[in-house]
């Protein structure tokens, strides 16, 4: 595979101050990317037969196969312009006003084309010099797989006014209009805004007696924002798919069909909410503390949903959810003696997510990921909904004593009889957890001693569950994960892992058996450095030399059995499944910086 990417980025700006208090700045950005790749497909299929009738590890090449070559090219263009007019005015010694007017547009375009061809008469050598489609002549079969484009734009205008009185009483208000080409012309604009107020309490005279408080500000804000991310272009139009064909004899005719269920009225997803909090510095600025409480309502969540009795997905603005929580960060920085400095800062947040309504005109259940996730008023969005494992039926006698499915057998997972009717049925499914982390936290510690410095950064989440969907796949009949080594084989052998028999369907139902805690704590960064700055180095013209050793994502503490503990939230209503998520790489760096 030969892959080449070219990218040109640039921006120009002009700034102009006039009439004393005005500043005007125009900025133009351009981003042009071009990608070309050529590749070789040695044989269309290679089957490694691991013991299903054939010899183990026998490699089977299908007959009638020859290699193919492929080429692909893509290009993308992005243009952005920002124009901002500032008016900053100190009216007198006490009153200060700042206003900003801005206007911005963004335009994205792109296209790609690719194709392959397979030479049926000769074996194309695996040599990049031949990785061009024309190495096989036109009479050979080929697929001109793709040729498509993208075009979307966004525009926005905003006005912001802030006023403060003696730097103590602060007020600001913003209003903005955002437009996106992703929505129909009558819905493409949304109006959003915010108002905020702050009070620097520590500047008041009555605070003089609280000597230890260096700074205290109380703030509150209310506002709305709009979001158009996460949906494809032009969805409001009734898109067609012409991938389908009718075949009569060997004649092929193109068909057209709806690509999705269209909703012309899709519009910005809106977040509206309040933030209140305070910022504080104490004890000669050595300690800082920030606390924010927020309560935000998101309405018209943009999401693709499964609709009853249809294979097409509907892209809609769903109902309303509330995210409420608290964010706290605190830090301490100080020195011990002349040579030792240290600092520690931590942050913590708690978020509670609650669905208020699933949306008007939705008379079906919002299920995600084949029913593992459910979105319901009063619960967390996209929560895990299934059976709760109580153990394993150890024997026929054990089975007879417990609620079970009519076809349960010893070695099967036993589930909780939630409705207490003595048998297990789909009505015994219940809330099993949320895929969204409830707690986020992190800590950063810095130490310095003479020329040495040391940093450690920790980060983690807690309160969520991860669905090990990769283990539920029933088609892999020979590959299991190590947890299956502990499978139930006879009474008393396991109360967690069911019998190793993939015809026992009850064990493949979505249940807490396939959930694991998503909590993790990770050393995000670990760094040790040594800085040299002395006469010796200065003599040879070096001001400053620094050596460091750094590791990123060095250690994870978690109970997650997958490659990565980070929950995969692709769809907000069907997230949290680990189907073999790509691991976060651990990166070790040894560095040497010289400053001349």
């Amino acid at each position: 595979m030969i892959d080449k990417d070219y990218r040109v980025l640039g921006n120009v700006f002009a700034e102009f101050k006039f009439a004393k208090d005005f500043t005007f700045r125009s900025t133009f950005y351009g981003d042009f990317a071009f990608n070309t790749s050529r590749s070789y497909n040695p044989l269309p299929f290679t089957v490694r037969d691991i013991g299903e009738g054939g010899l183990p590890d026998e490699t089977v090449f299908p007959v009638n196969a020859t290699p193919s070559v492929a080429q692909a090219q893509g290009e993308s263009r992005r243009f952005q312009q920002d124009h901002v007019l500032n008016f900053d005015k100190k009216i007198d010694s006490k009153n200060f006003i700042a206003t900003t007017l801005g206007f911005t547009t963004i335009s994205n375009q792109g296209s790609f084309i690719n194709g392959t061809r397979r030479d049926t008469s000769v074996i194309i050598p695996n040599n990049p010099d031949f990785f061009y489609i024309n190495v096989a002549n036109l009479a050979n079969p080929g697929a001109f797989g793709g040729g498509a484009g993208a075009n979307n734009t966004a525009a926005g205008a905003f006005a912001r006014v802030s006023y403060n009185y003696m730097g103590k009483y602060l007020l600001n208000a913003t209003i903005r209009k955002d437009g996106s080409s992703k929505f129909a012309p009558e819905s493409s604009w949304g109006t959003f805004g915010s108002v905020g107020a702050g009070w620097v309490v520590s500047d008041e005279n009555f605070m003089d007696k609280f000597k230890s408080v260096d700074f205290l500000k109380i703030r509150a804000a209310w506002g709305t924002t709009g979001n158009s991310n996460g949906i494809p272009d032009n969805l409001f139009q009734p898109g067609l798919s012409n991938a389908g064909t009718a075949v009569f004899g060997n004649n092929i005719f193109t068909s057209v069909q709806d690509a999705y269920i269209v909703d012309r009225n899709i519009r910005f997803e809106t977040v509206r909410g309040v933030d209140v909090g305070f910022d504080m510095r104490l004890l000669k600025n050595r300690m800082n503390l920030e606390v924010t409480y927020y309560d935000r309502k998101t309405t018209g969540i943009l999401s693709a949903t499964e609709v009853p009795n249809d294979t097409r997905r509907a892209f809609k603005n769903l109902g309303e959810i509330t995210n409420a929580g608290i964010e706290v960060s605190a830090g301490w920085n100080d020195k011990l003696g002349r040579n030792f400095t240290y600092g520690i800062s931590s942050n913590f947040s708690y978020n509670k997510n609650r669905v208020n309504s699933i949306g008007d005109g939705i008379n079906f259940a919002l299920v995600g990921n084949g029913g593992a996730n459910l979105t319901q008023a009063g619960q967390s969005i996209g929560y895990f909904y299934g059976f709760r494992q109580t153990g394993i039926y150890q024997s026929s006698a054990d089975l007879a004593k417990q609620p079970a499915f009519t076809n349960s057998l010893p070695g099967d997972i036993s589930y909780a009889d939630v409705n207490g009717d003595g048998v297990i049925t789909p009505t015994d499914r219940e809330y099993l957890g949320t895929p969204l982390p409830v707690y986020n936290f992190g800590t950063n510690i810095n130490l310095g001693y003479k020329n040495f410095d040391f940093q450690v950064e920790l980060q983690g989440v807690a309160g969520n569950k991860i669905f090990t969907q990769r283990r539920i796949a029933s088609f892999a009949v020979t590959n299991y994960e190590t947890n299956r080594l502990n499978a139930w084989t006879a009474p008393g052998t396991s109360n967690i892992e069911p019998i190793l028999n993939n015809t026992r369907g009850n064990n493949f139902l979505f249940s807490s058996h396939y959930l694991e805690p998503g909590d993790y704590l990770r050393i995000r960064t670990l760094q040790v450095g040594y800085t040299m700055r002395n006469k010796l180095t200065e003599k040879i013209g070096i001001q400053n030399a620094r050596l460091y050793l750094s590791g990123q994502n060095v250690v994870n503490w978690s109970q997650v059995t997958g490659y990565s503990p980070e929950a995969q939230i692709g769809s907000i209503i069907g997230g949290g499944a680990d189907n073999g998520a790509f691991p976060v790489p651990a990166i070790y760096t040894f560095g040497f910086n010289l400053t001349f």
């Binding site: 002009a14 102009f16 005007f24 125009s26 299903e52 009738g53 089977v60 299908p62 007959v63 009638n64 196969a65 312009q81 206007f103 335009s107 375009q109 296209s111 049926t120 050979n140 079969p141 498509a148 484009g149 075009n151 979307n152 966004a154 437009g179 080409s181 493409s188 139009q237 009734p238 067609l240 012409n242 389908g244 064909t245 009718a246 075949v247 009569f248 193109t254 068909s255 057209v256 069909q257 909703d263 949903t305 009853p308 009795n309 249809d310 097409r312 809609k316 005109g361 008379n363 079906f364 259940a365 299920v367 029913g371 789909p426 029933s474 009949v477 993939n502 015809t503 369907g505 493949f508």
Partner: protein, 516 residues
């Protein structure tokens, strides 16, 4: 003019403001970005000519080849569930989902059952969309004849889809037209089998009245009057409406379009596609450039699961020992239907005379989907996506006529029934030693009934009718017990479960079938 811009910075500023104003004034246009490289309903360059609604109804033909409609789910539901076939492949392959179709019950969260459900509703939606376009699309000008013919075509496929659905699931929601807002209108309760059958009959009667007898050769395999009448006959015999079934079957027989001259072996070959035997078959094709997209996976899922040149497919839906034992002595249809894996003592041969290897994972495979080696080589694929699916054959129509006539009774009808039965047997014995498959002589209703049922089994072996036949004859319970499928409980297993995924999605609007 000379002093307006006293430095270059000011000039740039002026230009910036100028452009900004320009963009602002054209903002409405700026935010209208045309869809790139894909059509919408409003700008599709509809081709004129013979069938201006073709692109819509062709979507339904496309879906007839869908994995959810006519691949492994369909084969499991119609064949592996019966006494004639087993799950096949390796013991663990397919897991609980596939095993449920063989050993019962089908699991409530079966992915295959769910695929059948959504696949058929997608197919029905394409038909309803075609009907909607005929009624409402003012951009298309078409003659009244074309409109009626296209309506008939859409209603044929819709009737077929609902006929499969009612036999598989019993009660399903009824969509008699395109809903304008599926998100608001798709969640509807199930209709009863009686309501569904009334609807299906209406569709197929309209189709039978208004479809052409045949099509231009470039449209071979499109829905015809014969296909609609033949399917209608099957709908009637399923409900024991014997007189109507006889009439519908006779419409096909008297149409002059079909006969039994095609050799039984030839019918299932690539070269036998769309023969005089074919009343309705799903069309598929493949070539070296497009080996799968215009084909169907129906063949691959049930083809020989070997290695090397015998790696032809997944090996599901294998003929059972009971089916192998069901044939009369020397019946050539046994070897045409069942591909035997060679054993150290008994060699197995394909219809083309190739010796099968020893030790394939299954003792028997469906030979009716065995592909020609030369075709595999020319397409560059082992997987047989080009094989048409024989949905309705003329022999089936003959046997439906025989069955219906025998049930209606009377000497004339019994004679017609016996004669039709013997015509089918006469073709089957071509090339066999004399004395094979002798003519049935009795006119006794009970004797003929048994003979016709037996004939359907062997004539239509591995052709998706056996399970539904057992159910409509009311003998699925004892037959399955006798075949060793002892978990089978007719009060539950005659129908598939309503997929749990659909029950969940419906938020209580759909209800589960009895026993699940």
């Amino acid at each position: 003019m000379k002093n307006i811009f006293n430095n270059p910075r000011q000039l740039l500023l002026f230009l910036a403001v100028f452009f900004a104003i320009g963009f602002t004034s054209s903002c409405k246009k700026f935010l209208e970005t045309p869809r790139q490289g894909a059509y919408t309903e409003d700008n599709y360059p509809y081709p004129g000519g013979s069938g201006p609604y073709d692109q819509f109804i062709f979507g339904a033909y496309n879906d007839l080849r869908a994995f959810g409609v006519h691949a492994i789910g369909f084969l499991n539901a119609t064949s592996a569930r019966s006494d004639d076939a087993d799950k096949g492949s390796t013991a663990a392959d397919g897991g609980a989902d596939y095993n449920g179709f063989d050993n019962f019950p089908v699991i409530i969260n079966s992915g295959l059952a769910n695929g059948l459900w959504t696949g058929h509703f997608a197919l029905i939606q394409k038909c309803n969309n075609t009907l909607f376009q005929i009624k409402n699309n003012t951009q298309i000008t078409a003659t009244a004849e074309i409109k009626i013919q296209t309506e008939a075509e859409a209603r044929f496929i819709r009737g077929y889809a609902y006929f499969n659905m009612v036999r598989m699931f019993g009660r399903v929601p009824l969509f008699d037209s395109l809903v304008t807002d599926p998100a608001a209108q798709n969640n509807r309760p199930q209709s009863s089998p009686a309501q569904l059958y009334t609807f299906i009959e209406g569709d197929l009667q309209f189709a039978a009245a208004n479809l052409p007898l045949s099509w231009d050769p470039k449209f071979v395999g499109r829905a015809t009057k014969g296909a609609a009448s033949g399917l209608l006959a099957k709908v009637y015999i399923t409900q024991s409406k014997w007189g109507l079934a006889m009439g519908a079957a006779n419409t096909v027989i008297n149409s002059g379009q079909y006969d039994l001259t095609t050799n039984y072996t030839r019918i299932f070959e690539e070269a036998g596609e769309n023969s005089k035997e074919s009343v309705f078959e799903i069309q598929a094709t493949a070539d070296a450039s497009v080996p799968t997209n215009n084909g169907i996976q129906y063949t691959q899922v049930q083809s020989v699961r070997g290695s090397g040149i015998w790696n032809l497919g997944w090996g599901f839906n294998t003929p059972s020992a009971q089916l192998a034992a069901a044939y009369e002595p020397n019946d050539p249809r046994r070897a045409r239907t069942i591909l035997f894996t060679s054993t150290p003592t008994v060699p197995g041969f394909t219809i083309y005379g190739e010796l099968t290897p020893n030790g394939l994972p299954n003792p028997r495979y469906n030979q009716k989907v065995y592909t020609e080696a030369s075709r595999r080589a020319s397409v560059g694929s082992q997987s047989g996506w080009w094989m048409n699916v024989r949905i309705l054959r003329y022999a089936d129509v003959k046997l439906m006529m025989a069955e219906a006539a025998n049930e209606v009774g009377g000497v004339a009808n019994a004679t017609a029934a016996r004669d039709a039965l013997n015509e089918v047997r006469a073709r089957a014995r071509i090339g066999a030693p004399s004395g094979t498959l002798p003519d049935i002589t009795s006119l006794d209703q009970a004797v003929l009934r048994d003979a016709i049922r037996q004939e359907r089994r062997v004539e239509l072996g591995m052709e998706h009718d056996r399970f539904f036949d057992l159910v409509r004859w009311g003998i699925s319970g004892p037959v399955m017990q006798a075949a060793g499928k002892t978990n089978f409980n007719p009060s539950r297993d005659n129908l598939l479960p309503i997929p749990q995924q659909q029950l969940d999605l419906s938020a209580g609007v759909l209800t589960q079938n009895p026993g699940y």
